[in-house]
Amino acid sequence: MSILVNKDTRLIVQGITGREGAFHTEQAIAYGTNIVGGVTPGKGGEWVGKIPVFDTVKTAVEATEANCSVIYVPASYTSDAILEAADAGIPLIVAITEGVPVLDMIKVRVILEQKGIRLVGPNCPGLLTPQEAKVGIMPGHIAMPGNIGVVSRSGTLTYEVVYALTTHGMGQTTCVGIGGDPIIGTGFIDVLAMFEDDPVTEKIVMIGEIGGTDEEEAARFIAETMTKPIVAFIAGRTAPPNKRMGHAGAIIEGTTGTADSKIKALEQVGVKVAQHPEQIPELLAGL
């Protein structure tokens, strides 16, 4: 079992003929992901390897019965691409693109909420259910199947953690990169709730970072709802205030968003917080 994506995922790739889209499509196919089509306006009828390309998501869905879309289009086209997928009835949209303007995402979120459509990202590495589906850019070889759920705001830091887990023989149900932007589609709480409901997931790793108050809200949710043990890591203890640390969302504003506040909130509700990423397997083993 797993969450969000698995063997039954029928994936389309928006921006499949672009450099990023083409590269990661190849990787995902090699991993065994069931990619059923791609979309690039104006290139309908072409093929990328064995994958048919469509002009619009609508026609792609009609032809392929896709139930998931991954987006690699440039930032300025991303909100249109998300809304196109939503309008075509795709229930799960994963936006990898980095650099989407915040006000675009605020508007898009309102529409997605009204329609009840799940968005993961933007500015995220995507989803990986080991040996079933790779939706996004997470390297497949670092993961292995198991019973740890991983959720993270980060990219390579997630790989670091997943790699450490795998090295220690701790496989994963699904690895979820929720993205590093201030406004994202799916947050910690959504993913924690899914792991809680997933019968195979036994323990959870949660990787947060400075900026916003999502980790603090997750802590409240954990206290109220979660029964499965959780290990967390929060990046950015040494980050100065009012400076954006790469991710648009990783910025300490005034006194909110500090790593200390997040660590404290999580520890107070019984979450083990690792001092550094490589300590996570050890803490998991102790639970």
């Binding site: 590093g180 201030p182 040494t238 648009a248």
Partner: protein, 381 residues
């Protein structure tokens, strides 16, 4: 990206927000001429992207042009929190009756823009929030409707604004939100918005921070960037599409990925060191970008050791290694370096780096520890 006070206020004025009819000067003589034209007392204000310029002596009242010139002479060239003042704004002085705070920013939790207002204007809103939180009014804005007139009236009512000022206030609040939205700002504020002559509102000071991700659709705003106000290394990094933030530690860090970069910084601290910078080379960086990044790190005289932490996915470890070598061929340095390369083409990468005199590590913890030790030995030399 932050705008200067004068840039923010001039933009407010395009939206119909009343501002003092001042001008900017880069010389004391210009300040004299502007003050003469204004003919009356003026305020000479340092235009610098740092808080606390008032306390630093960067804002001065002048009764006449001669005094304006004197103040401008003192302020121009002043160092405020590491930034040199190159421009002053000369505004007509006004008699302030009331000071209001009015701003728009993003409420990440509510996932909406929020208008914040307070009758306690003139001081930083964070201070008001800490001391008299009941004086802060927050109204969330529907992204599809914008600020509605009734919302502005609700604010006016709740901050106790006299009714004769409501019409002006509604217009100003609406214009401020529109300016915020049209500019893809992440923060914009008028502080203080003042009452003068009993019945007029005036935006005395203004600030705007823009969403860097949206600058592509605002070329005119993007041009307003004042590179004088950035650390030169940050300008350089931006031009090479690198995410770099200068810090004051001694261990230079080069990492792919923002989260991993922060985690790496944190680990230098954990093992008793301190990071000299945040630096994310992004995904799939080529060797020229890596070389640029290393040049930036090595230009910092505080750097006593360098830590490369690359978790190869899209990024290829051999490309990174080539970039490091190319920079080292150019910049001769005795700073010790610790490299930890994992993932795509890591063996090739390590082979390339074998040519350089470099400490290697397998785990992140080991790498961090070694970089701290290396920095210590450099300092002891």
């Amino acid at each position: 990206m932050k705008l200067h006070e004068y840039q923010s206020k001039f933009r407010f004025a395009e939206y119909g927000i009343p501002i003092p009819q001042g001008q900017t000067a880069t010389t004391a003589n210009q300040a004299f001429t502007i003050a003469e034209e204004i003919s009356g007392p003026v305020v000479v204000k340092a235009q610098v992207l740092a808080g606390g310029r008032g306390k630093a002596g960067g804002v001065k009242l002048a009764r006449d042009p001669e005094e304006a010139k004197k103040h401008a002479t003192a302020i121009l060239g002043m160092n405020i929190k590491g930034l040199i003042v190159k421009k002053v704004l000369v505004d007509p002085a006004v008699e302030i009756e009331t000071e209001i705070y009015l701003g728009v920013t993003i409420d990440r939790t509510a996932r909406r823009a929020v208008m914040i207002a307070s009758s306690a204007g003139g001081i930083a809103i964070e201070e008001v929030a800490a001391q008299t939180p009941e004086k802060i009014i927050r109204i969330h804005i529907d992204p599809h409707l914008g600020l509605l007139n009734y919302q502005a009236r609700n604010i006016a009512s709740e901050i106790g604004l006299p009714r004769n000022l409501w019409k002006q206030f509604v217009q100003i609040a609406g214009a401020l939100y529109k300016c915020y939205e049209d500019s893809d700002a992440s923060m914009t504020e008028i502080n203080p918005l003042v009452v003068i002559n009993g019945d007029q509102l005036l935006a005395l000071d203004g600030k705007m921070t823009l969403d860097d991700n949206a600058l592509f659709r605002h070329p005119r705003l993007a041009e307003m960037r004042d590179t004088d106000e950035e650390a030169p290394a940050e300008t350089l990094a931006r031009q090479s599409d690198l995410n770099y933030v200068k810090l004051d530690g001694e261990i230079g860090c080069m990492v792919n990925g923002a989260g991993l970069a922060m985690a790496t910084m944190d680990m230098t601290k954990l093992f008793g060191g301190s990071p000299a910078n945040f630096l994310d080379i992004g995904g799939g960086a080529k060797s020229d970008k890596v070389a640029a990044a290393l040049r930036i790190i090595l230009a910092d005289p505080n750097v006593k050791s360098v830590l490369f932490n690359i978790f190869g996915g899209i990024t290829r470890c051999d490309e990174v290694a080539r970039g490091i070598l190319s920079a080292l061929n150019e910049v001769h340095t005795s700073v010790p370096m610790v490299a930890r390369l994992v993932g795509t083409n890591d063996e090739e990468g390590r082979a390339i780096l074998a040519q350089a005199n470099m400490i290697t590590a397998t785990t992140l913890a080991e790498a961090a520890q070694k970089s701290v030790e290396a920095a210590r030995s450099t300092s002891e030399k």
